[in-house]
């Protein structure tokens, strides 16, 4: 479960950083991104990446965790990049798995 969380947070982080860029925001939503919102997206992205590191370290320990974190981040980014041009809304929608994971954590 920690592992799944690490992966989901890494994906959310990459998504945040990606949507914080003018070009990619416009591609998905067809309108310009207000500068304040852009900062929020980027900030949330970095925060999610940090949380991903925390979860990876919880799952593997602080020696192996960062190794896994780099791999998870890289692969999450690649999945995002390959999804974006084909199904942009799906690529953004995938992040909804994160609240679902959170609910599972609370109730299970």
């Amino acid at each position: 479960m920690l592992l799944a969380g690490g992966v989901l947070f890494a994906y959310a982080g990459m998504l945040g950083l990606c949507q914080g860029l003018e070009r990619h925001y416009k591609h998905v939503w067809n309108r310009a991104c207000p500068p304040s919102w852009r900062r929020v997206l980027r900030g949330a992205g970095w925060l999610a990446l940090a949380l991903s590191l925390l979860l990876c370290a919880q799952a593997w320990g602080w020696a192996m965790g960062p190794v896994a974190w780099f791999g998870v981040m890289s692969l999450a980014g690649l999945v995002l990049v390959l999804l974006l041009p084909y199904w942009p809304k799906v690529a953004v929608g995938l992040v909804l798995m994160l609240p679902a994971w959170g609910l599972l954590q609370v109730f299970a």
């Binding site: 592992l3 593997w60 190794v67 896994a68 780099f70 890289s74 995002l80 990049v81 390959l82 974006l84």
Partner: protein, 506 residues
């Protein structure tokens, strides 16, 4: 050479990447497969039962087998069933390199198992290219240096790393191939750099022996002893007096408590007063590769004689780097991470090779081009097909050979290796006589079918083999989709590899 710095870097990246990329692709593919070497071993030897037997029971059965059949041997080696390799194997000093005997962990009886190179072939090929060991290590080391150079020059010539960090524009021919090459390289750059650099560190003493030569006058044994790796002196006198072997099971438990999961043990001078029991952990209990480490017990009294060595900072650093490369730590989730990252590395190299041809196709593959330029272009194209699609075909061909060759064939392992290189050579020849696009489609399609077809060999009742078959199925479907896309690609200007290939073939 070119005028500006960036231009010379681009020149180096292009030509170094092309000429050495063919072999680098083979190294990366076999390295990726070697992540699951033990699982492939298990799949390629279907006679080994998948039984859930505790290590204690298995150890007792192995020792009673050895007492009955090999009581006089000077050394017993036992590989216990582990999570990744459910077989129970015993060997003696005389047969250390011959593979030993597989036992049924339930009954303790010997079972007939076919000889197979197993997934170990991919592991060995990954660092020697199947050349004589030291030659291979030097060639692969040189290739790793080229890889590092390609990575660094790639960073230099890629001017929009951050601007195009998330950019992939499909169906745009050359543009798309470049995007794919960039995305797979940039997003996994930490992995590429880590795996290439740590690969060089493994054999650093073979590549640059001067330090040991200077400090220890070339005496590598003295060097290993200084690191605390000294083998314990064997008690020669005691080894002649008979003695009764202590029960190994409590020792296994003691070692497991100290080291984590156990891979197996050796008993030197069994049944003598000088017996020594060396218990080895599996490699993945920590990042640092614990190869060669063991807890040593007195074989008669059961006393702990020597614990595993604590490495000093410098050897520990090297061990951690080697461990990062070997990917034995962190259990199956980490293993899958390494595997998928390895697959992406292969895609990165292959897309670079294809990009070389896509970029030049319009210029050189047309009738108006200079004849010798056309010949060179065609050679590049054939090598691309033979070294990318052909190697994948050879790899899955090896798996088929391991199941199809008669089990009692003499020198069976050598025939498997011949099958691997035979398929690869045929693929190169096939690429040479077929139009390029047809060759890509046919080789990728055949590889896909063979991958998907691995399930036909059965053995699906056991988890490890199921995993191999399922993974091959997924890879087969992906390769099938790729073959289909190449087939479908419209031969229009600027429509990618397929278009170039058709022109070349015409």
């Amino acid at each position: 050479m070119k005028n500006t710095f960036t231009q010379s870097m681009a020149w180096l990246h292009t030509w170094g990447g092309l000429i050495f990329g063919w072999l680098l692709f083979a190294i990366f593919v076999t390295g990726t497969l070697a992540v699951f070497d033990k699982e492939l071993n298990h799949w390629m030897q279907p006679e080994i039962p998948a039984s859930e037997v505790s290590q204690a029971d298995a150890a007792r059965r192995a020792i009673s087998y050895l007492q009955t059949h090999e009581a006089q041997a000077g050394n017993w080696g036992v590989s216990l069933p582990t999570e990744r390799s459910p077989g129970l194997r015993v060997s003696t000093a005389e047969r250390r390199h011959g593979g030993g005997v597989q036992l049924d962990p339930h009954s303790g009886e010997a079972i007939e198992v076919r000889d197979s190179v197993g997934g170990n072939f991919f592991f060995r090929f990954h660092f020697t290219l199947d050349l004589p060991r030291n030659w291979g290590i030097f060639v692969v080391g040189a290739l790793a240096l080229v890889m590092l150079a390609a990575l660094v020059t790639g960073i230099v010539i890629h001017k929009k790393i951050f601007k195009e960090f998330f950019t992939f524009r499909p169906n745009k021919g050359q543009r798309s191939w470049l995007d794919l090459h960039n995305a797979s390289a940039v997003l996994l750059l930490p992995f590429h750099l880590m795996i290439t650099y740590t690969g060089l560190v493994i054999f650093m003493l073979i590549y640059i022996p001067a330090g040991v030569d200077a400090l220890f006058a070339g005496d590598s044994r003295a060097y290993f002893q200084a690191q605390g790796n000294a083998r314990m002196e064997q008690p020669r006198g005691l080894a002649k007096q008979p003695g009764e072997l202590v029960d190994v099971v409590p020792l296994l438990a003691q070692a497991e408590a100290a080291l984590g999961p156990i891979a197996g043990f050796n008993i030197r001078n069994p049944n003598t007063a000088g017996a020594r029991i060396e218990i080895r952990p599996v490699l993945g209990n920590r990042i640092a590769l614990s190869k060669g480490q063991a807890m040593v017990f007195d074989g008669v009294s059961g006393q702990l004689l020597s614990d595993v060595t604590e490495w000093r900072a410098a050897p520990l650093t090297q061990r951690v780097m080697v461990g990062l490369h070997f990917a034995q730590f962190g259990g199956y989730p980490m293993r899958w991470l390494y595997f998928v990252c390895g697959v992406v590395s292969c895609v990165m190299i292959a897309s670079g090779l294809v990009l070389f041809c896509v970029k030049r196709g319009r210029k050189y593959a047309t009738a108006s081009a200079d004849a010798s330029a056309r010949r060179w272009y065609r050679l590049t194209e054939v090598c691309n097909i033979g070294f990318v699609a052909g190697l994948l075909l050879a790899c899955v061909g090896l798996l088929w050979a391991s199941r199809l060759l008669p089990a009692e064939l003499a020198q069976r392992e050598a025939w498997e290796v011949r099958a691997f290189f035979g398929v690869w050579l045929l693929a190169l020849l096939h690429a040479g006589v077929r139009p390029a696009r047809r060759a890509w489609v046919e080789q990728l399609g055949l590889t896909a079918l063979l991958c998907i077809g691995l399930g036909l060999f059965g053995g699906l009742s056991d988890g490890l083999r199921q995993g191999v078959v399922a993974c091959a199925l997924v890879l087969g479907v992906l390769l099938g989709v790729l073959a289909w896309r190449v087939q479908q690609a419209v031969p229009a200007p600027l429509k990618g590899r397929a278009a170039r290939s058709v022109e070349a073939g015409a």
